[in-house]
Every structure is written in structure tokens, then in C-alpha cells.
Amino acid sequence: MSAPEVHTDVIHVIPSWVLIAYLISGVCFILALRGLSSPDSSRRGNIIGMIGMTIAVVTTLATHEIATLWEIAAAILIGGGIGLVTARRIQMTAMPQLVAAFHSLVGMAAVLVGAAAFLNPSAFGIVDGSGAILGVSRIEMGLGVAIGAITFSGSVIAFLKLNGNMSGKPILLPARHWINLAVGLAIFFFIYGFWHSQSPIDFWTLTALAFVIGFLLIIPIGGADMPVVISMLNSYSGWAAAAMGFTLHNTAMIITGALVGSSGAILSYIMCKAMNRSFISVIAGGFGAVEAAGSAAAIDRPYKRGSAEDAAFLMKQSDKVIVVPGYGMAVAQAQHVLREMGDLLKKEGVEVKYAIHPVAGRMPGHMNVLLAEANVPYDEVFELEDINSEFAQADVAFVIGANDVTNPAAKTDKSSPIYGMPVLDVEKARTVLFVKRSMGGVGYAGVDNELFYRDNTMMLLADAKKMVEEIVKALG
């Protein structure tokens, strides 16, 4: 750090059109997100996002002498090809896994860029007169690589859990909070060391430790908390991009990083609120492991069981049916036949609406995409706070594949682990039809649902898709 201040001759002067081009690219990304305020404007927003990305890439290629154009073209073709094929083939039910996989790639790319900048800093214009990396850049690189590595390994675990390669049950190491704290502090220690001496050992150690802590942070988090985890990793991938933007002095990366970082943070907040859980308790993990023990006693209570014909008859006579889909619908792939049922009911003059709880599914907005895929018009689909008051006027609430999000215990039973969580007031409908595979299983929170044993509830015990198919047959 004792080098004389000779910055002027090493930091290359960037022409202003380049700065403006990156700024425009950043603005395009803002507009891409802005477009998502309504489905009508969203498609245009997506196109503007693509334009922004093109501007950023072309500007970069135009302002650096390219020693390896063919290799770069090949890398883009291979990566782009894989991306396009995956995007085309992926099933909408598997969207959470795909997003987790994409997050891991952003994280890894950040680590690679950080490592490349460390090995060849002069290419990035971040060296001082003596050839050492600028002090502030060292901190930015250290942070960027650390966040990128955490994003990578955390997302890989999230992917494995969502994809079913790994059990959704939380894995609880003894003293895990202390281990995490120790590893976290060690990372900061090595970032300090790297800032102090630019030592390669510090750099690679902090990278390795960050990979480890990403892994440790996600394994104790259970399946029910996945919507929070996936939003959180979304946020991390943004902060990683922002940190790299600081290193490279690149406006497009900084704006994007800030956007994505805020986006993920807000989604995490919305998900936590919808589960009435604090962010800290989600991160600490272990939800769904301890509570599961307390629920076995309630299984033998009397309940009413109905057939597909009963359900069809009831709904045909109704004026208003509200459908409440959950993750079970997605697993059974029942969304298409469900829409068919809705169409038949509408033909009979029944008003059909869909009610979506924010944490129905494995990621924010998952149910909306599945219903849209099945051609359910989006103006028939409503969020919790917009439709909850309507259950009182509904003749039938048709619950399919959802459980905890309809549990009235969340409103009344203070001892319930889901107490305080906002739920859909399905029990206020004249009749509740509850599609469920069997009476044995409980929801992800591991609690029994009071709703099953109510007088106005009729249980439809079968595979969701089969049951709805039979109802469709009975309606036709």
C-alpha cells in the first residue's frame, strides 16, 4: 500500500458513451421489473430486459480487445443452448427447482469472475501503480466472491431438496449456530487478511469457507420454508452481482444487483409474513421437525366422507364456488382437469373463483403460474386479502391439495405451531369440499386440521387428479 499515487496512468479512461450505454442497460432492467405490475405490460417488460442485456454484452465486447472471439462465441452458444432447451422443456410444476438451479449459476459465475479478477487484475483496471490490486477492490472482491459462493452452495442444496434428491426434512447439526458463527467470522477474518496483504491463501480460503457456510445455512431448513429460502437466495444472487459491479465499476451490474437484491428481500419478507414466521427463525431452521410429534392423537375423530357424485351435485346447485388450490394440486398435475371442472360449472351458471394463499406452492406465485398454464383467466384468480371476505357468501369452498393455509386453528388455537398465520376462511362457506389423499397425512407444518371434522365439511378422499376427473364425469 506504500505505492505512490499514480492512478492516472493505470486506470484507463472509459469513454462516456460506454458509461451511458451501461446506464441505459440498467434502466432497461428497471423497466423490465416495472412491467410486471400487470400481466398486460409484463411481456413488453421482458423484451426490454432482453434489450438491456444485449446492450450490456455488446458494449463490453466493443470496448475490450477480444483475443478470443471464437471461444467466447462457443461459450455463449453452449450456455445459451442449454438454457433455451431447459426453458422450453421444463414443466411448470418444476419451476422452483429451475429457479434454484439458475441462482446457483449466478453465484458460481460471480465466484469465477472474482477469481479471474484476482488472477488477472490489470484486465479489469483495478491495479495501482505497483501492480497491486486496489485496497477497496480487494474488499469488494472478497465480499463478492463470498456472497457468490454462499449463493452457489446454498442454491445447490435448495435445488436438491426441491427436486426430491434430498429429503425435505431439516438436517440439524449439533451446535450448528456456533459452527455457522465461527465460519462466518472466519470469512470476515480472511477478507480482512486479503485486504491487508493480497495473499492468495486468504483469497482461496475465504472462497472455500463461503462454499461451506452456504451449505451449512440451508441444510437445517425444512421443506415448508422453501419459499423463503428460494427468495432469500434470489436476494443473495443480486448482492453478489452488485458486489462484482463495485469491483468492475459497472453501472449496469450495480443497478441490477440492487434491484435483484431488493426483490429477493421483499419476497422473503412477504413469504415470512404469510407464514407468520420471523426471518431469523426461518434462517435458524428446524421448522417441521419438532412439532410433528404432537399430532398423532387426533386421527380417530368422526368426519363426513363424500363421493365425486355428491360433490358434483352440490356444486351444480351452487351460485358461487371458490377453489383453493395448493401444492398437492401441482404434485397431482390436476390443474388442467380442474379448469375443465370450472368451465363445466360456469356453463351451469355457477360463479367460479380461485383463492391463492401467498405460500401455496413451493415459491412465490407458483400457483398463479400453474393456473395460468391450465388456461384459467388471471382475472378469476385472487389473492388472500382480496377474496377472504367472499367465503361467507360462497356456497362451496373446494380445497384441493392445500392444508395448513386453510386451518382455522391458526386463528383460534394459541398452542398451534401455525397460530397467527393468515389463513383462508374456507370454513365460512356453506359447504367445504376437501380433496385429500387420505385422512392420515398432515400438512407440512405437521399439525392436524380442525376443518376435516366440521359439520359443513365433506372429505373427498382420493388422488386429486382422479377425484376431479370423476367430478367432471359426473358433471358432464
Partner: protein
Amino acid sequence: MDFISILSIFVLACFVGYYVVWSVTPALHTPLMSVTNAISSVIVVGALIAAASSGSVQSKWLGLIGVALASVNIFGGFAVTYRMLAMYKKKER
């Protein structure tokens, strides 16, 4: 650009992000995640710089792998968002 100007851009962009994201309709939260995924791959800029320069062989290869990974995300992210958004339809009246 000095550190303070970069920091200013970052802080202001966080505020822009905050307000823009709150205005996103909950029905589009999944496309929001996939499109944020695609745009955060603007990190490809860094990978391109590394891949394009001839200074260090390791750095070049790290850059090339980075370009490939980010490209998966850019093309995949925008394409899957496009596919999802095309599904959202209004009621036919």
C-alpha cells in the same frame, strides 16, 4: 468513477428496486424471480472481460466458464419468463 459515485448509484438503485418490486402484482411473483435471475446474469460482463483478455490463461478459462454459465441463465431465464408470461390470459368476454 470513484467509490462514492458508485455507492450513490447503488443506494439509489436499492430504493428504486424497493418501490418497483412492491408494485409487482403477486400473481407474477414467479416470473419476477425468473426474470431477476436472467438480469442478474449481467455479471456476464465481468466474465467477458476476463475471457477476452490475453494476460492470464487461468483467468481466461475462468472467464469462459463464467460466460457459459451466465449464458445458460440469460437465455434460459428470459425464455422461461417469456413462456410463463404468454400463459397469462384474460377472460374472454
